[in-house]
Subunit: 325 residues, 4 copies
């Protein structure tokens, strides 16, 4: 970003830094995607959905999805759209869920499913396989629906599945996904998100929809510069792989504590159970979010800058708290 | 309506017929409610919710509710609002459901519950008792929420519970309900619905919201005249009671057919199970709606103009179809 | 409507009366238009615009237009759309207005003109000629825009221009108009409006948009029956011609009163000037609407059921008031 | 920003940098305003308006206003609201404009004016005096309306009027303004805007509206840090004063070129006229925006980092182009 701060440049993306970032994303996707930098993750999802939705259509998602529970109704407010939330114990949507919702197609009393939104990695820390994503996309396409992938944690997913850029392609556009919200904020950036859109969608109006959603950065070179750095030498994948490893390490250090009932992490999150007293004591010492308060479940996440020392200290703290003084 | 058609009258409700209807509704409610005639049921619900919703608020309802599944996303489209649909085997929302949703109050990442919408009689033909409605309203009020009652079939509910106008009051404003969508269309009218709103709500802007929703009838005397007739001598209750009785009669005539697995109706609807062949044969003969197609469940409804002869013929037809020729 | 009230019929338009009305409109238009009955005029305009608007588009109209000033912001509220209102002394939009607005096409900071909305007869009682409508449509088409015609008073316009059904066609679909809001309410009906939509528009979702807008009549045979009667033997044109004639008669009876400064009516409205005292006295005696209050201008309208006797009495009253006792 | 980048901090504003920025703004305003950082200017305006608007209300603004012409319909899209744009040769709204619009208050067919939005400095580079702002606020308050000030260039206005922080207060909350969009992006920051809201408005839901609008920065310390620096030692005012001076310098250097017809700048913008050939030649050499293309008018702006040398070079270039080789 410091480099991007020198000299005068054209606003609204007409600068060489933005052009580099666009090129880098097109190479990553193996496709001339439309690249729409946005300010935040809520904005990225709203812009992506606005590009994919047709008249009187709804969005299919799981009841765990971030767009459904963590965006204060932003999609409904901006898009005027119903989110049809499907229950799912794994936070993954299935071809069967799509087929069931499509039973309403053509019935004037029901909203018409138009977009399927999947999250990768999911809000429960689970992963779609390449085959699962492809099956969702094929069912959607057969029924005339488009597919959005909320990739706030796509880096962690790609890193966990392995294989680098080729894996990214097979999990997204290669599988038939139409738009990806590609997250930077949760992977070490100052705050930058981007929508990658399959060419030819949104009637050439994607940029206008971004502006309407209040997501057009006038000094676009700053978010762009962050992505240029992240994509260079696949830094985005190595930071995410590190976060995943730190989660595995944490799990290995506390897995014997049975009261936690903590499953091995697939990416960089764990969902252990704590007694109210232990939870309060631990949160006071090192903040983390509650997950399912009535059930006593919390969420532990590692990130690009979590160190092995952080993890060992935290694990020791847990052990001390649970085994008591 | 023929009477209302004579002579010239002021448009948009400035006529004596509308004034009579407003007076009749205020007497019915025992309260100087705001009376907002609308064109249809979808419009009535949208107008009622627009009067009750505050900033960044959501609507709590069951996943069975008409506003959630049968209005093609009209509430989300016009109101820009999330409907938080709660699973319920009886299609009734409980104080516990409200409390659970209110756990999100004050958390900026979650939409804020603002209105509870209950349906009476419910979409499954079940009934809230007066105590149940009151408990919902008390919980809502304690948490700062308002209560909307979708009364497309309120007449059938009042008739089933018994007690006339006093029962209506105890089921609605007396219990703490803030707005009622009072249905005429399903109870014999040519097409007329009305929103009854507790005085002092909507910042004096209820009429403007109705107009914005495209629900201001310019020739308001026509819907008004229908309600004047319906409220006179409690015709609305006797027609609804008749519909309920016809449903009971139908049940009594087919209850022995075990494959139907049909529960006794609380109002004017039943939800029997039919084999695909029997369903097709019966629908071809006398149309009715499917309910849960994969489960083989259909919906039979009686209405204000169903005759005993209709019921006996239909029951005989069912028996013949199921027992075969 | 009495005829339509006998016997049981399918709801939501699946009845023979609705089919007759649809056929009658298709014959009138000389085209297999989609026929969407709606409850009111605001709803008809909102549904028509929702069928024509694309992503991030605006509506061009004059600052006099009904959608701009008389619908309480309903189009903005439901459609989330900007109305770009063009000043016009005649309430008519021109090809030059369209060209000027299209200067913004492609500029991401400006909303993109997508629909031109014209009113015929206009809110000032003026008329577009066939050539003027055609020129508007040709400019719009060349720029990729669609054209909506608000025809709340299309009957009066056709009657004034002369020529019957063929004139209607040349003023609308023959000229290139894409959607017509065809008014019944202002032309003698109990309350019925309809949207006529060029085939192939709205991605097959017009009916869903109508339902979202709260404009799907469940007992559709009632509005349909009114249109069947109106279209039979061109009753809609003879009632409108009568209203126009009554306006001409009124004008001929008061044209010598110079203080009125009243121009000869083109259809069924006049916009005379009155002193505050004269206005108050006349309105108390026979209600009419103010038009431009600061300028002292009012609006006089005649209608399908205005009699020659009505007109002569009103003219005499005016004369008496102005010439005073 | 580099300082803000060290160590781990709470997300969504729970960090000491954000607290410092909030305190600095409250001191600047002399009032415990609600301080809502947003990503961009469009977002700031949308959030501010969403906090001030009531049911079925419109926004009054001039037809020049940025919210009306330069935000791609974002306010209409997100807010579902009509912008009532008033013609004004100076881009300033007057108490008379407000009174005229308020003639519609109480008329159900017209949208209800609810918020007046003024821009300071205006889009034409003009300034409201303190008395003019106060008069607008008093008229608005008397009619029950709230006032929004779009302050994308408030720094330039304060610097031009003189007097520092006290002047800022007298131009905004001291005059009765209810919400200010305070711009950073146009005054040297990487990209940061903030909404300052009079305490007690928006029903305590301002933060929720910001989140719905996609404007909640998760790493809030970065925009906050920029404002901390800008407010320290009134840097925001000295950078703006510099931009204003550079505009004055430029004017003094080209004022004798009569074909430019350029008025002395009040802040940091000028609107000269150029022939198409001269415009093309100059823009190719040093980019600037067109203003009124058919009239041959362009816009020249100076900024915080424009140097005296830049200005002298540009003026020389103009002279050379116009006087020709």
């Amino acid at each position: 970003m410091s480099a991007a701060n020198d000299g005068h440049m054209m606003a609204y993306g007409g600068d060489p830094v933005t052009k580099s970032a666009v090129d880098a994303f097109r190479e990553l996707c193996g496709l001339d995607v439309e690249v729409l930098f946005t300010f935040g993750g809520t904005g990225a999802n709203v812009v992506a959905l606005s590009c994919l939705l047709g008249r009187a259509e709804s969005v299919l998602c799981t009841s765990w999805s971030h767009i459904n529970v963590d965006e204060t109704g932003a999609p409904e407010r901006f898009l005027g759209v119903k989110l049809q939330d499907v229950p799912s114990p794994t936070a993954k949507i299935t071809p069967q869920d799509i087929e069931a919702a499509c039973g309403a197609l053509g019935n004037v009393h029901h909203v018409q499913p138009g977009v399927v939104s999947v999250t990768q990695a999911t809000e429960l820390g689970t992963l779609y396989t390449v085959d699962e994503i492809r099956a969702v996309c094929e069912t959607a396409a057969r029924r005339g629906l488009r597919v959005h992938l909320d990739g706030a944690r796509i880096a962690n997913a790609v890193a966990a599945i392995g294989g680098g850029r080729e894996t990214f392609r097979r999990l997204t556009f290669g599988a038939g996904v139409d738009a990806v919200s590609f997250g930077g904020t949760k992977n070490g950036m100052l705050g930058a998100e981007v929508v990658l859109l399959r060419p030819g969608l949104a009637d050439g109006r994607a940029e206008f929809l971004r502006k309407q959603a209040g997501q057009l950065p006038s000094k676009m070179r700053y978010p762009a510069a962050q992505f240029v750095s992240a994509l260079e030498n696949d830094l985005w994948l190595s930071t995410a792989a590190h976060a995943n490893e730190m989660a595995s390490l944490l799990h290995s250090l506390v897995a014997d504590l049975e009261e936690l009932r903590v499953a091995p992490p697939q990416v960089n999150s764990m969902y252990p159970y704590l007694s109210p007293a232990a939870r309060a004591e631990l949160q006071a010492w090192s903040f983390f979010w509650d997950w399912d308060l009535p059930a006593g479940q919390v969420r532990w996440m590692t990130s690009w800058d979590t160190t092995e020392q952080d993890v060992r200290s935290f694990a020791a703290g847990i052990r001390e708290t649970l085994r008591g003084a």
